[in-house]
Amino acid sequence: MTTATETGRTPGGAAAERSARRRGGERRRPDWGKYFTWAVLCWLFAPIVFMVVFSFNDIKGRHNVTWEGFTLRWYSDAFAYPDLNVALLNTITIAVLTMLIAGFLGTLLGLALGRYRFFGQSATNLVMFSAISAPEVVLGASLLSMFLTMNIAVGYWTILIAHVMFSVSFVAITVRARVLTMDPSVEEAARDLGATPLATFRLVTLPLLVPAITSGGLIAFALSVDDYIITSFVSGSTQTFPLWIWGATRVGIPPQVNVMGTLIFGIGVLLAAGNMVLARRRSR
């Protein structure tokens, strides 16, 4: 930003003086935007802080609402609820499978949409746009209607089907955006150097697409882990982490849920920080 300002004021001494004075004035004025942003960040982090702090809460009864003292008990006893463990395991395996399947299908879709013009292209865009913007409750209810009509038993596999369905478009648009901005001359160079189409794809195109495919896959993973509404329609008696928490609200949520939420959050923070460090290093 500073560089833009710098280049902007090179021509014309009067303008330079004026903008310099203005910048000086800005420096003295309090930066309300900064205060506002930090206030919003505090708001955004409030329930997270609550969750983390109350994972150390030494509660005696069922309700983890008021502070009763510090303990590490829930961390050593994190896996005390067998069905919560099963739910967490289901969530993780479904998310990994969703990431792989939606990542694969979405990459192919994004590649075709970004690179070719073909019959049905605008229809594909339209269907993807609708799948992204359709409300979750509608997607869940429609899938359940179809499974009911066709007498398909709902459970683990119908959850997986649903998760791939709603995340595939996100992968596709991420990959498509990358394909559209890719420099075609790189691939031409590979061909000019005698690479076969397959070798060009494997050695040139695919490595260039890897960041987009990775972020698309991570979006699919995150959407899958977090989903409650669609899953609640197509889960039958299968439990996932969000479904288990929802079911537990009536009897009181055990602190183990806070522990797992804290651990998942910690892993997410580490991954995001690692990704950012890698990106910084790559851009240098």
Binding site: T37, F45, T66, V138, I229
Partner: protein, 294 residues
């Protein structure tokens, strides 16, 4: 752009794009398009769980759906609309400040905005329920100090629901606005100042019009999920603030009143999608999708 690329890459074969899109098409056709068709057909059926259902073109399901639940439908649209406005009011300044004043820490600030969303949506909402509960960490403490009367409560109100919805979907507003502002050439603002525009005038006449595509994309991405969401309303709104999503879920999973539930679903879908498609048509689907992709 796609046309020139297709020309250059024509030798890969005419069937290549179809081979690439086919698996995705099949998946979306079977598990997105077909279910929508089946919800439409189910909404016109009669019957019961025990006796089975038959297609009788029963339009009565729709009149019943509208007659029984018009209030929840309108309330959902109202809460969704208010939450969307709140997201613009909160999200725009944040996106603006990060994009223009974030400097070297732009990505860090953006990450901080997204970080809370690593925690499950349900868990976050329930946490709010605990924080705001009548004897929770905030109200309990204030009541203990005598600042608030003992019967003061925040939960189970429309305000709690609207703020909860805005909370849960804020990043969907910040991201598209940020994407547009970040790519904006900052010299145009400088140029506006050189043409004697004040700060307000430069914003209203230069920055704001250029950032509107981001706001439009954000409106779609916030309004649809907020007006169809029921988790937030159930946790923070109590019984008096039921939204239409809850009705659909109860009719499907508790009452097993499938045809009626399908009719309500279709009404909700029609209301939202007609609105959104006319909105997207006016702005261009491609443009909205591209902003979403960033």
């Amino acid at each position: 752009m796609a046309a020139t690329q297709a020309g250059k890459r024509g030798r890969t074969g005419r069937f290549a794009p179809y081979a690439l899109v086919l698996p995705g098409w099949v998946w979306l056709a079977l598990f997105f398009v077909a279910p929508i068709a089946s919800v439409v057909s189910m909404s016109l059926m009669t019957g019961s769980l025990g006796a089975g259902y038959s297609f009788t073109f029963e339009v009565g399901n729709y009149t019943r759906a509208l007659g029984l639940y018009w209030e929840q439908i309108l309330r959902s649209l109202l809460y969704g609309g208010l939450a969307t406005l709140l997201c613009i009011a909160i999200g725009y300044p944040v996106a603006y400040w990060i994009a223009f004043k974030g400097g070297a820490y732009k990505t860090t600030y953006l990450l901080l905005v997204l970080l809370p969303f690593f925690v499950s949506f349900v868990l976050r909402t329930i946490s709010w329920g605990f924080i705001l509960s009548d004897n929770g960490v905030i109200l309990g403490a204030l009541k203990g100090l005598g600042v608030l009367p003992a019967d003061f409560g925040v939960l189970n109100s429309a305000t709690a629901v609207v703020f909860g919805l805005a909370y849960n979907f804020l990043p969907f507003m910040v991201l598209p606005i940020y994407a547009v502002l970040e790519r904006m050439d900052h010299r145009v603002v400088e140029a506006a100042h050189d043409l004697y525009a004040g700060r307000v005038q430069a914003f209203v006449r230069v920055v704001l019009p250029m950032s509107l595509p981001g706001v439009f994309a954000g409106v779609i991405m916030v309004f649809i999920p907020t007006s169809a969401d029921y988790v937030t309303a159930t946790v923070l709104g109590g019984t008096g603030n039921t939204m239409i999503g809850k009705v659909i879920q109860t009719q499907y999973l508790v009452n097993n009143a499938y045809p009626l539930a399908a009719a309500i679903t279709f009404v909700l879908m029609a209301v939202l999608l007609i609105g959104i498609f006319s909105y997207a048509k006016a702005l261009g689907t491609e443009q909205v999708m591209e902003v979403q992709a960033r």
